[in-house]
């Protein structure tokens, strides 16, 4: 029996600049007890479809054509009061951001029970009892204790379980889960999704699983629907779509997804490591932060970290959130003072430098940050941004700087015409290319890349990674590459350090660490990563990636 059927749906939003089509022609069906993944990049319209199935599109949205049928009943055209009766009872919703999705001033128990109260299914003690039961189903231990707490007292994973419990409490037949785990660490993601699967089997649920992560979709769903610019371009069994995609877009998407297992791309294999003394030597790094509100209490964000980077080498620093990897990077960049430890660059003690000496040293170590939008001054043109380091070091006259900017734009494969634009007028990928050009302007020896692709869509991410790999090879620059994404690190790093709770737990060649981890923590991490089967004809797909996605 078909639980949900979306047929040729089109949704547009009224904006100040006219109407914008978010969904053009999207179709999908979900059978009872089935998980269907809706896969797409940002702006593909996947969240709009989720909201449309709940009838929560808002005043600005208009359904152009198409139908949405829930258990055989047409939802398009139903009035608000009728839709309200379905929400929570026949269709449950699990959102992306588990903190913001819980009311900060209401107790957990009341929030889980709310659906029952709203629909008059239960009240008072009975509602509470059913809420506790739902929380237990969602894998929360001691639900009676948790029910009395407020959201901020729970960890991210627990909050997401609370949201699952609250979506489930009235036993709807369908759950719409919109990127339910993308704000969570990969090990937590695994636990949450395992729980959801268990529930699905126990209760015969159907799940519409919305994600940007192909590998995750492949792992969790029976069938996959690929969404591009509001069109569902391909659908079929997960295994088929992901191993033998037919539509060019799906092919490109499958090809650009970074893979953890299998052969690494060229960038990471052509090692140019030299036995000469390392370029950067970090030893015994410790950073303590005072904890707010608790006098004398300190937290060690970085706890005795040591590593080296050779000339022309890419070192990957991986770890989950809070592992201290970004703190370590900021210390290397001298944006943060360590509590203990040494950072030696060549034969120079970086930590001993002050004032103008320090500034001169920065010439050799340049940063690239995560969010390219906020890392570029919105008032600067692309040319000003890229030329800024040159100006700061009085590198050449105006003419020479202009020529260098053009050279750099070319190197990051951006058209010269963009030079006069502001960063706010660029796409995410273009912005990150500008940031790369800026970091390379002074021909540094080391570039510190802090999560530089995690804000980007997978196809753009693939391009940036391949660009960075090429530049690294051509220029012989060393990279300290920080990321939470093992597959991304695998595709670019020669060597890898795995961080957990402020310390490095494992270190070695990226292939050996990520494919045959020795430390239990690394093993758990690697196990939790959903992965795609290795792509067959790599060369062919790579060319199709660049042709299909070149315009982004």
């Amino acid at each position: 029996m078909t639980v949900l059927s979306v047929d040729r749906l089109a949704v547009s939003y009224a904006t100040r600049n006219g109407s914008v089509e978010a969904v053009r022609d999207a179709s999908l069906t979900i059978e009872r007890g089935e998980t269907v993944a809706l896969v797409g990049e940002s702006g593909s319209g996947k969240s709009t479809i989720a909201l449309a199935t709940l009838g929560l599109l808002g005043e600005q949205a208009r359904i152009g054509h198409g139908s949405i049928a829930l258990n055989g009943r047409e939802l398009v055209g139903l009035d608000e009061a009728e839709l309200r009766k379905l929400r929570g009872v026949e269709i449950g919703y699990v959102p992306q951001d588990p903190l913001a999705a819980l009311n900060p001033v209401q107790r957990i128990g009341a929030q889980v029970a709310e659906t029952l109260v709203i629909h008059g299914l239960a009240s008072g003690r009975e509602a509470q009892a059913r809420a506790l039961e739902a929380m237990e189903h969602a894998g929360l231990r001691q639900p009676d204790v948790l029910a009395k707490l407020y959201p901020h007292e729970l960890s991210g994973g627990m909050r997401q379980r609370v949201l699952i419990a609250s979506a489930m409490v009235a036993r709807p037949g369908l759950i719409v889960a919109d990127e339910p785990t993308s704000a969570l660490d990969v090990t937590v993601q695994r636990q949450i999704l395992d729980q959801l699967e268990l529930l699905k089997r126990e209760l015969g649920l159907s799940i519409l699983f919305i994600t940007h992560d192909l590998a995750l979709a492949a792992q969790r769903a029976a069938r996959v629907v690929v969404l591009q610019d509001g069109n569902s371009v391909e659908h079929g069994p997960a295994a088929d779509v992901l191993t033998r995609p037919r539509h060019p877009y799906s092919k490109a998407l499958v090809a650009s997804a970074p893979r953890l297992r299998g052969d690494a791309p060229a960038a990471a294999t052509t090692s140019r490591r030299q036995p000469s003394p390392p370029l950067l030597r970090v030893e015994g790094l410790v950073k303590e932060f005072a904890l707010r509100g608790q006098r004398g209490a300190r937290r060690r964000a970085v706890d005795g970290v040591s590593f080296t980077i050779g000339r022309g080498e890419t070192l990957g620093l991986v770890g989950e959130s809070g592992s201290g990897k970004t703190t370590a990077a900021r210390i290397v960049l001298r944006l943060l003072e360590p509590s203990e430890g040494t950072v030696a660059f060549g034969d120079q003690d970086l930590l001993a430098l002050r004032g103008e000496e320090l500034r001169q040293a920065r010439r050799h170590v340049q940063p690239i940050f995560q969010d390219p939008l906020t890392a570029l001054d919105p008032r600067f043109s692309v040319e000003q941004t890229i030329a800024e380091p040159l100006r700061a070091f009085r590198d050449g006259d105006r003419q020479q700087r202009r020529a260098r900017v053009r050279e750099l734009l070319d190197a990051v494969r951006l058209p010269e015409a963009l030079a006069t634009r502001r960063s706010t007028q660029l796409s995410g990928g273009q912005r990150q290319r500008v940031a790369i050009a800026r970091a390379l302007a002074l021909r540094p020896d080391l570039v510190v890349c802090d999560e530089i692709v995690s804000a980007l869509d997978v196809s753009v991410q693939a391009q940036i990674l391949s660009l960075l790999g090429d530049l690294q090879r051509d220029l012989g620059v060393s990279l300290l590459f920080i990321s939470h994404d093992l597959a991304v690190v695998r595709s670019i790093a020669h060597r890898v350090c795995v961080m957990s709770n402020g310390a490095i737990v494992e270190e070695g060649d990226s292939a050996s660490v990520l494919l045959a981890p020795a430390h239990p923590y690394t093993q758990a991490l690697v196990d939790a990563v959903p992965d795609l089967p290795p792509a067959d004809q790599e060369d062919q797909t790579w060319t199709s990636v660049s042709s299909t996605l070149a315009r982004r």
Binding site: L54, L56, R84, K85, L86, R87, G88, V89, G92, Y93, P95, Q96, D97, A100, A101, L102, N103, P104, V105, Q106, E114, T115, I118, H119, L146, L149, Y150, H152, E153, L154, S155, M158, L163, S166, A167
Partner: protein, 328 residues
């Protein structure tokens, strides 16, 4: 041993008590700063402060000058003067008015009652009105009403308070004769001044409250509530309102201290007795000890109001008292 320890820390464990103690302690430097400021007031006078206080046309005798100097606490070294002043203030002695010779503390005691009445009435009016206006603004689907609720409060701030008072007076007192124009006899005399004073406060509170409501309504938890099938009414009252109220509580202290400042104008317009009129008279007569006394009064009021606000905050927002990520 363990039990005694719990008893001792018990008081500190109680979040309300902890906030209360912290706030009272934090108030000490504020009062001290106000005292320093009011002390410095006399010394900031250009030239000899005695000249500024004395009527220049009356050509005072040297004896008068010395008397006044003593009265202002201006004899002796500067640190000595400050220590004397601080000592007197600590004992509740705020000096005497140069004009009337009355103790400043008595003057405050005599006038604070009607002013608190006025400010309190205005606060209640402003709270009710701002809640009503911002709830209407976020819940109505009627566009003109929404526009009116959005535009009217900030626009009302452009009209000077004293002028609004006079206009209200000429309409409702002289025109319709509903309320007395001046005085402080009974409740009916309170209506016009309280409304006058409440208008800018309403505008201020409405702006903060409706911004808070709108921000809350844009949060994912509101979407979740709707996905549970909640009605718009439930969404606004159960979910958005309490969250939207939190930033409003933060600025309510500011609103109260401005209500007291507004009383200066309102009391003058409606010829009501109160601290406002006393201050204005003191300022125009260069009655420095009285001005100093009222500076101190406002500092104390500010500290007290902030203590109350912080306690309200603790009640409204569970994130203040319960530990962060206790189970993380």
């Amino acid at each position: 041993m363990a039990r005694r320890l719990t008893a001792a820390t018990g008081l500190l464990r109680n979040p309300l008590a902890r906030v209360l103690i912290g706030r009272v302690l934090a108030g000490v430097p504020v009062v001290f700063a106000a005292m320093t400021l009011s002390f410095m007031l006399v010394h900031l006078l250009p030239g000899d402060p005695v000249n500024a206080v004395l009527d220049p046309t009356s050509s005072p005798t040297p004896e008068q000058r010395e008397n006044l100097r003593h009265q202002l606490g201006l004899d002796g070294s500067l640190p000595r003067q400050f220590a004397d002043y601080a000592g007197r203030v600590a004992h509740g002695d705020l000096g005497h008015s140069i004009q009337s010779g009355r103790a400043v503390s008595t003057m405050i005691g005599d006038t604070i009652g009607p002013s608190l009445q006025l400010a309190g009435a205005a606060l209640v009016l402003a709270l009710i009105a701002s809640c009503a206006i911002s709830l209407i603004q976020v819940s109505t689907r009627h566009r003109p009403i929404r526009a009116l609720a959005t535009i009217l409060p900030p626009a009302s701030l452009a009209f000077p308070g004293y002028w609004v008072g006079i206009v209200l007076m000429s309409i409702f007192a002289f025109g319709l004769g509903w309320f007395p124009a001046t005085g402080a006899d009974g409740l009916s005399a309170l209506v016009l001044p309280a409304v006058t004073l409440a208008i800018p406060a309403t505008a201020f509170l409405t702006r903060v409250l409706s911004a808070g409501l709108q921000e809350a309504l844009a949060q994912p938890y509101v979407l979740i509530a709707r996905a549970k099938g909640a009605t718009p009414r439930r969404v606004v009252l159960r979910h958005a309102f309490r969250n939207g109220l939190i930033p409003t509580i933060t600025v309510a202290g500011l609103a109260i201290s401005y209500l007291l400042a507004g009383a200066v104008i309102t009391e003058t317009v409606f010829a009501r007795p109160g601290i406002g009129r006393t201050v204005v008279a003191a300022v125009s007569q260069h009655d420095i000890p009285v001005v100093q006394g009222f500076v101190m009064l406002f500092a104390v009021v500010f500290v007290v109001v902030n203590i109350v606000i912080d306690l309200l905050y603790v009640v409204a927002d569970p994130r203040i008292t319960t530990g962060r990520a206790a189970l993380a």
